[in-house]
Amino acid sequence: MAGKIFAVVVALITIVTAYCVIAHVWWMPVDISVHGPKIDHQIEETVLVAGLLFIAGQVVLAAFVFLYGGARNRIKQIPGGAKPLIVFAFLLVGTEIVALSFIGSKAWGAVYFEAPDPASMRVDVQAGQFAYYFRYPGPDGKFGSLHPDLINEGNQNYFGLDTDHDADAKDDIVTAELAIPVNKPILLTLHSKDVGHSFYARELRIQQDFVPGLNIPVHFTATQTGRFEIVCTQLCGLGHYNMKAYLSVLSPSDFDDWLRKQASMQ
């Protein structure tokens, strides 16, 4: 009796889980980046491959437990012993792994192995306990150098710019929101003011840690306008849960207006 119940319970769990995944009860938001479809495709492939293995494993387990309870069954091993199992594991799982790796490398490569477009719009991103700040290079197209000893949140000098002596820094535009024009290649450089943080924009299908001491480039092109959240996913202290910024993807003219307005507020 216990065996039959076990089989039914496992079957139910498998069905409910499979349903929740296939019906996308909780799922990824729509992707808004050029490389997004590749990542989504990889996730779907993995759902298929892993899902089939999950269902098969649980169903066979349930079936055997259902069938072979009690003392009536004739004891015998599966034909061929362990060899077919080993062969199956190597062949089937091995093939799946090779396929996933091969296709997946293209998805990964789309994000990291392709060089950024030389005409990318550059934005410098600083993460610190517990906010993001963004910096546009301004009309001169150059970023001023950073001086951590000059950082002063009270004076809103979040980046530690030396606007008195550094010509490049004078026209840098610092904002608390990341606005970008749609369909234009963007190159972000991520650095941290204090501890580790992360840049997670679900719709962009991008997640990249900020590592103190490093300047990490991330590039992408957004394909839809809208307002999206960027949240921190690397434990950074008590404000970690609340650390976020908004990504605004705007039409080119809206973006120009926004940038001009931000520049006037510096």
Partner: protein, 604 residues
């Protein structure tokens, strides 16, 4: 020296240094007095029970921390009076602050991963059972064994002590990434003495684990009785033996990692802290260090650690199943054991999969992804062995077997999640979401715990001489099995929505719709916690009032069942133990004990 030992008395079967009989009399005479028998005992059985007792306390502490966390996630305005008493600054009036949430989370992970999951299946059961299963009178180094336990206990006490210091426990997670963990109290509450005590606790655990691993390895190789060739070792002993090697090499790296972290914190070094950090408006004096160096060192230990946790589970389940399915496992001892060796070996070359989005070279990400995916193969082989051994078996659904079957189902579920996390492209979306939390809870928190519980119900009669209550055991199993799926499969699913982990509250626009799911998980988790008290009651009540257990209540074949329940102080009462068969001589109702000269029934 080699004369027949028939006329010798209590020193039979016991190590004797030929040089002086006086030392022999001291070394392994039955212990006298309460202190020597139950407190500072060198007897591996007592030490095993001491580890299990510590882990039992630790698991309830760890669970209580998780209840507090889950209550806060579902009902952020809830007042928990006990917390308010424990830490007036962390939870004023019982209302949990964000930093206290992170502290509870840090200690939940630390206590569970080390003092429950690494200690109980390996040091707890391994210590009690392994020497008996190989036919020895004790571990190779009994006094070293005793030291290992007491050092572990000191580590546990230090971890618990963090709750009682003014600033509370650290909040950097069990993974303690630098620089957050390295710069000291400027980074937040608990990052002063809390982190120091934490580091000291881990250092104690490392040292104890290394010495314990040494004991397991030497005992298994050197102290096997006549006829106990390596192929005849029980699969649980193989699991502990292989695990001891992984443990030896992995903890050997965690120890320096913690020492370097302590140097950064207390001695002004900059192994992990780069220059130019401004924390709390203060420019930090360090320069030149690398947070990624910490991650490499930590995860070089951290990944094998999860296999250190699961390998004894593999061994325990592989050992228990034949008893209750009344046939040997498919492939005998070789297939499962080789799968364990493969898993243990590969576990050392995959650590970078924790660092795909860390800023490590994306090319290295691809490099680490390949063995991470390939480790699936021996894991799948193991699962196939357990599942297909059920084919044409005679399954007896006693509680140990139910928990073993539960283990198999949970391990399949947990392993499947690994496919998503092993590939950098898919991991870039799922990293640091509740998908990861679901995945590691399934594999470590659920599978390993179910295997440990299977072992507990299986070996309880041997350890305490009494049977546990079967009905309560079954209730414990069914409730736990369904509820763990409710909590942790839901976590996988919310992970697909991008639900971020280690958040003390769900306030982001996309997190708010996940609150109902979180409430569901909280209620299931609290029910799951309540269920464990059934087990606790069963264990404690049966210890004193359970029906007396025979030598071999399960009709099993290995050496521990060929002695009394509980065994005498030297395990076999001075008998010469000779092994004639492998450990899986089962054929339906029939079975042949390893120590029986009767004919084999299963051809092993």
């Amino acid at each position: 020296m080699f004369a027949a030992t028939a006329e010798k008395n209590i020193f039979l079967g016991v190590k004797i240094m030929p040089a002086t009989a006086a030392q022999a009399a001291v070394h392994h005479a039955p212990p006298q007095g309460f202190i020597r028998k139950y407190i500072f005992s060198v007897d591996h059985k007592v030490i095993g029970i001491q580890y299990l007792t510590m882990s039992l306390v630790a698991v309830f502490v760890g669970m209580a921390l998780s209840w507090a966390m889950r209550i806060h996630l579902a009902w952020p305005d809830a007042h928990i009076p006990l917390l308010g008493w424990l830490s007036p600054s962390g939870a004023p009036g019982g209302l949990m602050t964000p930093e206290y949430y992170l502290s509870l989370m840090t200690m939940h992970g630390t206590i569970m991963a080390f003092f429950v999951l690494t200690a109980a299946p390996l040091a707890g059961f391994g210590n009690f059972i392994l020497p008996i299963q190989v036919g020895a009178a004790d571990m190779a180094f009994p006094r070293l064994n005793m030291s290992s336990f007491w050092v572990t206990l000191v580590g546990f006490i230090l971890a618990c002590a963090t709750f009682f210091i003014p600033d509370g426990p650290p909040l950097s997670g069990w993974t303690a990434y630098a620089p957050l963990s390295a710069v000291g109290s400027v980074a937040g509450p608990g990052q002063g003495w809390g982190q120091n005590l934490w580091g000291l606790s881990i250092v104690c655990f490392c040292i104890a684990s290394l010495l314990g691993a040494l004991n397991f390895i030497v005992t298994t190789l050197d102290l096997r009785t006549k006829g106990m060739t390596l192929p005849r070792l029980p699969l649980s002993t193989w699991g502990w033996f292989i695990d001891a090697w992984v443990s030896l090499l992995a903890f050997a790296v965690l120890l320096p990692t913690c020492l370097l972290l302590v140097l950064d914190r207390l001695a002004g070094t900059s192994f992990f802290i780069p220059s130019g950090l401004v924390i709390n408006d203060q420019l930090q004096p360090h320069s030149g260090g690398s947070p990624l160096l910490f991650q490499h060192l930590f995860w070089f230990f951290g990944h094998p650690e999860v296999y250190i946790i699961i390998l004894p589970a593999f061994g325990i389940v592989s050992h228990i199943m034949p008893t209750f399915i009344r046939k040997p496992l498919v492939g005998g001892w070789k297939v499962i054991t080789f799968a364990e060796v493969a898993v243990g070996t590969l576990s050392f070359v995959v650590w970078g999969h924790h660092m795909f989005v860390s800023g490590m070279s994306p090319f290295m990400a691809m490099v680490f992804s390949v063995p991470t995916l390939f480790i699936t193969i021996p894991s799948v082989i193991a699962v196939l062995v357990w599942v297909f051994s059920l084919y044409h078996a005679n399954i007896r659904f006693d509680t140990p077997l139910l928990f073993s079957l539960g283990f198999v189902s949970l391990f399949i579920s947990g392993g499947i999640g690994g496919f998503f996390l092993a590939q950098p492209s898919t991991d870039s979306y799922l990293h640091a979401t509740s998908f990861v939390v679901g995945h590691f809870h399934f594999t470590m928190g659920l599978s390993a715990i179910f295997a440990t519980l299977a072992g507990f119900y299986y070996w309880f009669p041997k350890m305490f001489g009494r049977m546990m209550n079967e009905k309560l055991g079954k209730v414990h199993f069914w409730l736990s099995f369904v509820l763990v799926y409710c909590v942790f499969m839901t976590m996988h699913l919310t992970g697909f929505a991008g639900a971020v982990r280690r958040y003390s509250a769900l306030v982001d626009d996309f997190m708010v719709p996940l609150i109902p799911a979180n409430k569901f998980m909280t209620i299931a988790a609290l029910l799951l916690g309540a269920t464990q008290f059934i087990f606790l009651f069963n264990a404690i009540w049966s210890r004193f009032k359970g029906p007396k257990a025979p030598n071999n209540p399960w009709d099993a074949t290995t050496l521990e069942w060929d002695t009394t329940s509980p065994p005498p102080f030297d395990n076999f009462g001075g008998r010469q133990i000779t092994v004639y068969h492998g450990p899986m001589e089962y054929d339906g109702e029939a079975s042949v004990m390893q120590t029986s000269p009767a004919e084999s029934v299963a051809g092993t």
